[in-house]
């Protein structure tokens, strides 16, 4: 019960440890390094999201729109019993069956339309084409040198009925977030 309070307390206090860029996930060398890192990160994010229906073990559907910049082998690695099925769709064919929207590179109008569609729906939005995380996606992946990181748009999360574990918000907020 007290743990979240501690964490909130830790959120508002300056960490005493040496300052590094928050959430630096090292990418292993080799050809499979980047896809594995991205899939692990996406899987982690998914595992910390709570939909109003179903449980952690419920299989979720991820609809990939546009062209992902970090990897084309999208297969999120969810820790624990949950799983994610990936479906490639176009902007027009997005249906309420999509629990997760992965927004790759796409026209600005399409993105605006999708973000507007998501508002009020229990849909998790992740993008890898918005390093500053200002265009309305909840989670924004970016890569720097040999590592990838994510940031959080707390406004976007606050607008939807989806619940995100505050610990993730804290990690994602390390880079300043997008509020």
């Amino acid at each position: 019960m007290l743990a979240p309070l501690f964490l909130i307390g830790a959120l508002v206090t300056t960490p005493q440890m040496s300052v590094q860029a928050a959430n630096q996930t090292a990418v292993e060398d080799g050809s499979g390094g980047m896809p594995r890192a991205v899939n692990r990160m996406v899987g982690g994010i998914v595992s910390y999201a709570r939909w109003p229906t179903g449980s952690a073990a419920t299989a979720r559907t991820m609809c990939v729109v546009g062209a992902p910049r970090l990897t084309d082998r999208m297969a999120p690695d969810v820790p624990g019993p949950g799983s994610v099925t990936v479906r490639r769709v176009t902007t027009a064919s997005v249906t309420p069956e999509c629990d997760i929207l992965f927004l790759g590179r796409m026209p600005v109008a399409d993105r605006r339309q999708l973000i507007a569609w998501v508002r009020g729906r229990p849909v998790l939005t992740i993008t890898d084409d918005d390093a500053a995380c200002i265009y309305g996606a909840m989670f924004c992946l970016s890569n720097k040198a040999a590592s990838i990181s994510f940031s959080v748009n707390i406004d976007a999360i606050g607008r939807g009925p989806l619940r995100i574990d505050p610990r993730v918000l804290r990690i994602g907020g390390g880079e300043g977030g997008a509020s």
Binding site: A22, R40, M41, S47, R167
Partner: protein, 407 residues
């Protein structure tokens, strides 16, 4: 060289302690033991309980750490792991923290900057770290290890010892007070008994008695002493009356109950001294029964005794209060009379003669008329010491006897 040395008399032990001191020492010992025992028990129980709390504390810290570092491990972010551990570093009693990832490689480690005050105690109480597996939706993604240190325990022990010392002090004072009370209650009646015994021994106060006492055993002792004193008092009274009787017998004639020769000598000496001091005069009357032997022979010894008793009674009747009469021989009496203007020894002598001449009723029914010869000597006219006075009185008596015979 010398014979066997005689057994030395039993010496009284030099350094004698009082009952009060003995009780005090005894009380203090018992109390010290009790307080030390209870203090130690409480301290041990406290340490055990605290050990339990410390374990629980470590466990909770490990759980909290596991919760905090879980997403950081999911995203494989060492910086976030450190931040997740940060709240734990502020919990007292944690010496070291370490987080391992899913393959057991250390991700981050934190060691308390505060030095362990007692490494040995830490080794005894926290030999192993508390390890909690960090899980994400049921699968292990890492391990967090927490090492405790003994700082809280030492604080407790220090506080406990201080409190124990305080308790010891308070208890010691309380004990001293209670012991004093107890000693007073016990020593007071004992002192009372001792005082009575001392009084009886030193001042012969056989009428002293021990008052009823509050403590049953001592009261019984007091009762026994009282009974003993009752007996002693009885013996004492008996002895005193016996002694008075003996003294009376020694100074008085048993037949006539008049003072005897010894008592007379003493009395005469006193009178001479008193008269010489005051310059007063007194007369000595030597009275001797005439023909007493004949009466004795004719009527028997019982009759002789009766005559003597009658003579003594009549002589005494003729005297005033301050005068003194004694029987100094078989039929010889002596009277000492103080002389003043009213009294003339010759007058007294003739009164005695007249009184004696009255018939005496003998045991056999006969009557007897006694006659006496009286010789008078006065102090200081006829002598200033006992012998001279007696000689003078004796001579006067013989002269009187001769006169009587010739009549």
């Amino acid at each position: 060289m010398t014979g066997p040395t005689p057994t030395p008399p039993v010496e009284r032990i030099g350094a004698r302690t009082t009952l009060q001191k003995l009780l005090s020492r005894f009380h203090f010992g018992i109390t010290l033991f009790a307080v030390a025992l209870s203090g130690l028990t409480i301290l041990l129980a406290g340490v055990t309980a605290l050990r339990g709390y410390a374990d629980r504390n470590m466990e909770l810290a490990a759980q909290l750490g596991a919760y905090g570092v879980e997403p950081a491990l999911v995203f494989n972010d060492p910086q976030a792991v450190r931040e997740g551990l940060e709240p734990l570093t502020r919990i007292p009693g944690i010496a070291r923290l370490r987080v391992l990832n899913d393959v057991g490689r250390p991700v981050t480690e934190w060691i308390s900057p505060a030095a362990d005050p007692a490494p040995t105690l830490t080794r005894i109480f926290f030999p192993r770290p508390f390890a909690v597996t960090v899980q994400r939706n049921g699968s292990a993604i890492g391990t967090i290890e927490v090492w405790g240190d003994s700082s809280t325990l030492i604080d407790y022990v220090r506080l406990g010892l201080l409190a124990g010392l305080g308790c010891l002090l308070i208890t010691a004072f309380g004990t001293i007070f209670l012991a004093r009370r107890f000693e007073y209650e016990l020593v007071k009646p004992l002192n009372e008994i001792a005082t009575v015994a001392h009084d009886v021994r030193l001042h012969r106060r056989f009428d002293k008695r021990v008052q009823p006492l509050g403590i049953a055993e001592l009261d019984r002792l007091g009762g026994d002493i009282n009974a003993l004193l009752d007996e002693l008092q009885g013996w004492q009274g008996h002895m005193e009356s016996e002694r008075a009787l003996l003294a009376h017998r020694a100074s008085h004639d048993t037949l006539t109950a008049l003072p005897n020769r010894d008592a007379f000598d003493e009395q005469l000496a006193q009178r001479i001294e008193a008269a010489a001091r005051r310059g007063s005069r007194f007369a000595l009357l030597f009275i001797d029964a005439d023909n007493f032997k004949a009466a004795n022979d004719n009527f028997g010894h019982a009759a002789g005794d009766a005559v003597l008793v009658a003579l003594s009674a009549r002589i005494q009747d003729a005297l005033r209060k301050g005068d003194f009469a004694a029987r100094i021989g078989g039929d010889e009496f002596i009277v000492i009379v103080e002389l003043d203007d009213e009294v003339h020894p010759e007058g007294l002598a003739s009164r005695i003669r007249t009184s004696v001449a009255e018939p005496i009723l003998l045991p056999g029914g006969e009557t007897y008329r006694a006659a006496v010869s009286v010789g008078v000597a006065t102090f200081p006219d006829n002598g200033s010491d006992a012998t001279a006075l007696l000689t003078a009185a004796d001579a006067a008596m013989y002269a009187d006897k001769l006169t009587n015979r010739s009549r």
